[in-house]
């Protein structure tokens, strides 16, 4: 446990020393902010026609979408860089297990993303003042829980894929490809197939978020789905390191 924390702490503060993390954080907050403002404008123009009030998922929806593009940038170098620089040899000859290393790396990235996510809380708080009688608190909670779960899963997959490479750029593109597959493509067969479509729609990463958590519905299957993906990602990472030892 202690080792996980030591590694996570280093990784977390390391992000604040790299430009890529600032770029990612800046773009996330900027785009989410723009979409927020546009939504407010749209809803206020339509309010007189009974258009209803905006809900907090005008923040969480776009944020999750942007994660698909930004998580690969955050995770690409996590383990691949240690490979490239030879520092993996340092960590693997220190009394640290492969799992501790992978979980620590993942946790560092996760905490960084949570920090960025915490900054977006300003928008629902603002919204709470703008709409009468305030926002749906449960929906906000559920949507933010959804973002956290999606982030955990994406970061774990990215960390795992990073362990397969010595080149961060390669890790970036493979991670992005896997995300695009899981987010947009894997659910597609469900619309075409007559039978067996359930499997594909279950694997669809976006449906578990947009159709339930982001609408204020917390279902156990969705939580289990994201936690399983997280575990899978970490497992890929630990296995990749183990395999590297044997080569």
């Amino acid at each position: 446990m202690r080792n996980i924390w030591t590694i996570a702490k280093r990784e977390y503060f390391h992000y604040f020393a790299t430009p890529i993390a600032y770029v990612v954080a800046f773009l996330l907050l900027l785009v989410v902010g723009i979409i927020f403002v546009l939504n407010i404008q749209y809803y206020s123009q339509n309010a007189m026609f009974g258009g209803g009030a905006p809900s907090p998922n005008i923040v969480t929806g776009p944020f999750v979408f942007l994660l698909i593009l930004s998580v690969p940038a955050l995770t690409m170098r996590l383990i691949s860089d240690e490979n490239r620089m030879g520092t993996l040899e340092l960590l693997l000859t220190a009394p640290v297990t492969d799992w501790e290393l992978v979980i620590g790396k993942w946790l560092g990235a996760f905490l960084f993303l949570l920090t960025v996510l915490a900054l977006t809380l300003i928008y629902p708080l603002l919204l709470n003042f703008l709409v009468e009688p305030g926002i749906d608190k449960m929906l906000a909670l559920s949507a933010y829980l959804g973002v956290i779960l999606v982030a955990a899963a994406l970061l774990a997959l990215g960390t795992g894929i990073s362990a397969l490479f010595s080149n961060p750029i390669a890790a970036f593109f493979v991670t992005l490809a896997v995300f695009v597959l899981l987010w947009w493509l894997i659910g597609a067969p469900a619309n075409v197939l007559n039978s067996g479509g359930e499997l594909f729609s279950y694997l669809d990463m976006s449906a578990h978020f947009y159709d339930s958590l982001n609408q204020g519905v917390i279902k156990l299957t969705d939580v289990v789905y994201y936690l399983s993906l997280t575990l899978l990602g970490l497992f890929i990472g630990a296995t990749a390191i183990e395999v590297r030892r044997w080569q």
Binding site: I7, T93, R245
Partner: protein, 307 residues
């Protein structure tokens, strides 16, 4: 402290090390000597529990490197060939990070101590990326010393250092080697000669010789070799040597040098000197020639190839 038995490692079809067997006791400095690609780094990576062997067993500080790898890693300090550093960390932060990973109770004090040992006090807050190669090497060494390891494994510890630093690092290793076990690899033969209690010469994954540097010299020279220098024609002078009983392998050089050997136990230096002086040559110099580890090494690896 280190017991290695039949250690073998294959990378695919290539056999990197082949049935290595050796031991090292506490307070011993062992030198691993061999050309690049001989299997030195592979052996060290196995002993530090970085990678498991294909066959054979290695016990380091009382623990098996495969079965009890975490116990081994707690007790071993390792400086890999490419010094593993994070260029965007300061020396202090880097060492503190490693000290935390090793759960040292007095982490910050200990960091100060090892920094002083390697003489980097004035660069403790510098970013590692801004340090020279020699300084980085010393940061790596500091990292290996942090947890007062029972066994220290150093892959080419003096590479990239300037001559003054080389001497400092060697003194440091010698100091540490008094109480702990040090295994170091080098391809600088004089370093092994100066530093090590015992030398293992390794070539193509096999140990071709194992002994103290002094014994290795004795064993391979097959008798004593002497260099003399005369004023005048060395080639003519060599004719006189030919007549001295016991003189062998005589070589004369145009600059007045003559080398010859005599069998162990038959010291003919006196006869040689007298013979030369009687024939009117001025004897300017006479001294025993030691076979350097370089020559021993070439000798051994050549024998290996022809066998």
């Amino acid at each position: 402290m280190i017991r290695v038995n039949g250690l073998t490692k294959d990378y695919g079809a290539r056999r990197a090390i082949d049935g290595l067997t050796f031991e090292a006791e506490q307070g011993e400095i062992i030198g691993f000597l061999g050309p690049n690609g001989a299997g030195k780094t592979t052996t060290m990576r196995i002993l530090t529990a970085y990678m498991p062997p294909t066959e054979g067993q290695a016990i380091v500080a009382g623990y098996d490197v495969v079965e009890e790898s975490l116990e081994v890693r707690r007790r071993v300090g390792y400086l890999p060939e490419t010094v593993p550093l994070y260029p965007d960390m300061t020396v202090f932060d880097y060492l503190k990070f490693m000290a935390d990973l090793r759960h040292l109770p007095d982490a910050e004090d200990r960091v100060d101590e090892v920094v002083e040992m390697v003489g980097l006090e004035d660069r403790i807050n510098s970013y590692i990326g801004s340090l020279s190669k020699g300084m980085r090497q010393r940061v790596g060494l500091a990292q290996a010393l942090l947890h007062r390891p029972q066994v220290l494994i150093l892959d080419e510890p003096t590479i990239g250092l300037d001559p003054v630093q080389v001497v400092e690092v060697r003194n440091l290793i010698r100091e540490i080697g008094k109480e702990r076990t040090v295994l170091l690899s080098t391809h600088i033969l004089s370093e092994a000669q100066q530093l090590c209690d015992r030398v293992l010469i390794i070539n193509k994954g096999k140990i071709v010789a194992e002994d103290t540097p002094a014994n290795l010299q004795l064993r391979l020279s097959g008798g004593e070799r002497v260099l003399i220098r005369v004023r005048g024609d060395a080639v003519e002078a060599a004719q006189i040597l030919n007549k001295v009983k016991g003189a062998q392998a005589i070589q004369a050089f145009p600059d007045g040098r003559i080398e010859f050997s005599f069998p162990p136990g038959q010291d003919i230096r006196g006869e040689v000197a007298r013979a030369l002086v009687q024939h009117g040559y001025d004897l300017l110099e006479m001294r025993p020639l030691q076979m350097s580890l370089e020559e021993i090494f070439l000798e051994l690896t050549r024998a290996e190839q022809s066998a």
